[in-house]
Amino acid sequence: MKEAVIKTENLTKRFGDFIATNALTLEVYTGEIFGFLGANGAGKTTAMRMLCGLSIPSSGNATIAGYDVYRETERIKKNIGYMSQKFSLYEDLTVLENIRFFGGIYGLSDDEIARKSDALITQLGLQNEAKKLVSGLPLGWKQKLSFSVAVLHQPKIVFLDEPTGGVDPVTRRQFWNLIYDAAEKGVTVFVTTHYMDEAEYCNRVSIMVDGKIEALDTPHNLKKKFNAFSMDEVFYQLARGAQRAE
């Protein structure tokens, strides 16, 4: 059952003499929700870029969905979905156009796109908004839509970079329901967040400090280990000593 879809071994990225990500070693299993936490500048973004096949590591090994991060980046990209708070959807396209576009670039057939966009719009309750521009949607809806678009091509892994920043508490929870649904269907979810209560929703979390993973376990075990009541406290204990800036 425990099949690793993300497997890294001493994955390192250097920029000159600056080590952005230092010997990252972790395994993420199929259907797992993995929280990737760290202070600003800890090296999360760099690590995530390597895992997505956007950046070639300086040293170390990693396979993503069974593909090598050095040689098979194109295959990796076909098997992952990506969503970030900063870029998610085209604001000047309609909901439907966005779905079609992203379905298209992942090589879905017209039939599939039509079928999936109908299903998706019904699932999100966006029937009335399907032909409206994305720019007019409330932020929470945009984020839900862009997550659904990121998993439209049924990737093995979906990477979420601070997906819920600035979203209201109710929508934030609805968003996490989408994540649970996806995980139940076997999609592996790799997520970063600044909301520590969301760390609790993850099966396991890692906390990065100054380019290194300082802790990796279930939220429950981490709290026990650090003798803390909440993940917030665990995080604070670990990241307080962080030395470096972005």
Binding site: D168, W176, P219, A239, R240, A242
Partner: protein, 321 residues
Amino acid sequence: MLQYYMNTTEPMSTRITPPAIVADNLTKVYGAEKTTAVNAVSFMVERGELFGLIGPDGAGKTSIFRMLTTLLLPDGGNALVDGHDIVKDYQQIRHTVGYMPGKFSLYPDLTIAENLNFFATVFNTTIEENYHLIKDIYVQLERFKDRRAGKLSGGMKQKLALCCALIHKPTVLFLDEPTTGVDPVSRKEFWEMLKRLKEQNITILVSTPYMDEATLCDRIALMQQGSILAIDTPDAIIKSYPDILYAIRAEKMPALLKVLGTSNTVATSYAFGEYAHATFKEHIHQEQDIVSMLQYAGMDNIEVKRIQPTIEDCFIKLLHA
């Protein structure tokens, strides 16, 4: 003139100085579609108070900030900052307030020292003159003072921006989402800085989408879609929570949430960190009743406890109301 002003406990005549901020039915409408970003918002901030506007993106926080800092004209209502009218006396306001906009708003190609020096000069002052105000914060930056602002971490950028907003000793400080996108450690540090500033008797209006930061304010306004849902001290808002709230945990959390979501005895339920928070339709429920109900539904390792709601619980409650 302003109704809200008159309703305060103190009679106007005994006031020596006007309140720091008085907003009266402040309204902002955008675009051809007439989207109401701020809908008749009224509140008052006393001198020396740390007042928080708490709400998600799209609640209208930034529009309120921009109206109060004279960057936008209101489409309805009015407001006084430091006793000055935000429309007519905009120039006086610009002399006295400090403002830190939401997005990074320094010159990335200038160094820390150059940025600070520039903003000091723009505000007709020097770094030396008000150094005492920023000293606590600036000492943390000083060793990087020749580094360009664009090369700083999120937390450090935030600190520098705060220094720049403080350098002219403003009477009212406007901080629009200073901690958005900042990691929890830097956020904590930032709020500690605000607490120290409050001791210097600077009025602070701050906005944030993080509900857990609400308790760090003296008073807060919970906002959603341009309207204020509640306005009071964090304690009073928590006390006014009408229901009994339970935190529940079980072996399999997703299954637990499903059970709670479908049970007809449950009024509301949602995930909250490692627990699920729930309220029940009749108050007859004791912890033991809830445990039995969940055991019956096949849950294991059940933990149920009555808890005091957080601001986030209150916010969720207000959204459903």
